[in-house]
Symmetry: C2
Subunit: 250 residues, 2 copies
């Protein structure tokens, strides 16, 4: 059914997103909070013009470089990310050699299993997060649980649609964080080394595309891309777009 929406439909991303999120509810992947978060995202995406703005594309290129430079990159996956871009996450993980780890704000064994199964059904060879044998210091129990050989050990973590407390706690552990979020004013992207203010539906495939074109780049070229990326400026430009792009009709 997703495939029935023509790719040139003016609200293509919004319709695909809505459809996948609904399917995520049926599969026990998307929570109530996830549906509300999806709505918040829709509003910000609408104000952004439902497209990848140039500063977001820069961030996605820097994210690709950062993931390629990492020793142990991990893509953290929550319910909405799994519902929206399962295949795209598996492709990105493959392209940059990252682990996939399920990590939920509202953790239940059923949802953990459903999400891991969903990722595996979309081609993930291995999914972390079910062991949960370590903890991120400084935040409360359930959200803190991670795999010792996953996020706990990672040097670079990509965290889509993250909550602010956990984003801060991960940064305090010294992880380099790439955060995908549609609200440039919220705490998580402001905590990130690389804030990506874009719809995850566009962001993940675009990071993968950048990673593919950078695959044979030298280490110092990748380092230069990361060093040149200006997080403050990217946040500012997204905010400006939300302000000044607000004139379009629905």
């Amino acid at each position: 059914m997703t495939e029935d929406i023509p790719s040139d439909h003016p609200r293509h991303d919004s319709l695909v997103t809505r459809h996948r999120i609904e399917a995520g509810v049926d599969a026990g992947i998307t929570s109530r909070q996830g549906l509300i978060a999806e709505g918040r995202g829709e509003a910000f995406d609408y104000l952004l013009g439902e497209e990848t703005i140039p500063s977001a594309d820069d961030a996605e290129r820097a994210a690709a470089a950062q993931l390629l430079l990492a020793e142990h990159p991990v893509l953290s996956v929550n319910g909405n990310a799994a519902a929206l871009v399962p295949e795209e996450l598996v492709e990105l993980a493959e392209t940059v050699g990252a682990d996939l780890e399920v990590n939920l704000f509202n953790r239940t064994p059923e949802r953990m299993e459903a999400i891991a199964d969903h990722l595996q059904a979309h081609g993930a060879p291995d999914v972390k997060g079910l062991d949960a044998d370590e903890r991120i210091p400084g935040i409360d129990h359930e959200r803190a649980r991670v795999d010792a050989d996953g996020i706990y050990d990672a040097d670079v973590v990509l965290v889509p649609l993250e909550d602010g407390d956990r984003a801060e706690a991960l940064a305090e552990m010294g992880k380099v964080e790439i955060v995908i979020d549609l609200n440039p004013l919220s705490r998580s992207p402001r905590t990130a080394a690389i804030p990506v203010i874009d719809n995850i539906i566009r962001a993940i495939p675009n990071i993968t595309a950048h990673a593919r074109s950078l695959e044979s780049a030298e280490r110092d070229e990748l380092e230069a891309i990361v060093a040149d990326f200006d997080a403050e400026r990217a946040l500012h430009e997204a905010e400006e777009r939300i302000r000044t792009g607000a004139g379009q009709e629905q």
Copy 2:
């Protein structure tokens, strides 16, 4: 539990809203679409500063005057409105002598009943919408169904959180529409005679308060309030606020 949130909490409205929407899901009142819509509303309310801006207060006063002037005012109630402000809707209906009519985008007998029961449990003496013996011309079947002695017969209709098609169809029937919506750019408030760009949690009690203070006003005073209200300007000011108020931290 709603009562446990101190009224001076900086995110009071947001927390109360979230709690009531969750309870609405448990009660079979709030749909998936309702949860997503709630999230969209949260984002716009956040950008508005989570307060009733002066132009919204003007709109709420004009709405009160318009409802008092009406021969047969009807408050249209959908799932989110019922979940968020059941008592407040009953009070407003009582204050201005309006009917309450349940009208759903995704109409099922179960949800219709659950919402009518919920309103009655909050003091509504009578709830319309279950007969559905008439139709609004020009829109598809389920959304079009209304009561012959309710919305179909009304001269003034208050429609919170409405979909654009139905808002347009009601306007084409010659109804004077008061639309409550947090997105000043969406079609429904742009169709309305009186667009109220505010959180329904603040808007409904404030319309009631204005109606009470106008209860003994002369007809020509009420007419002057309605005539003086400038819908274009109200939409513009809400949009401006979304743009320039975007600087606050979450």
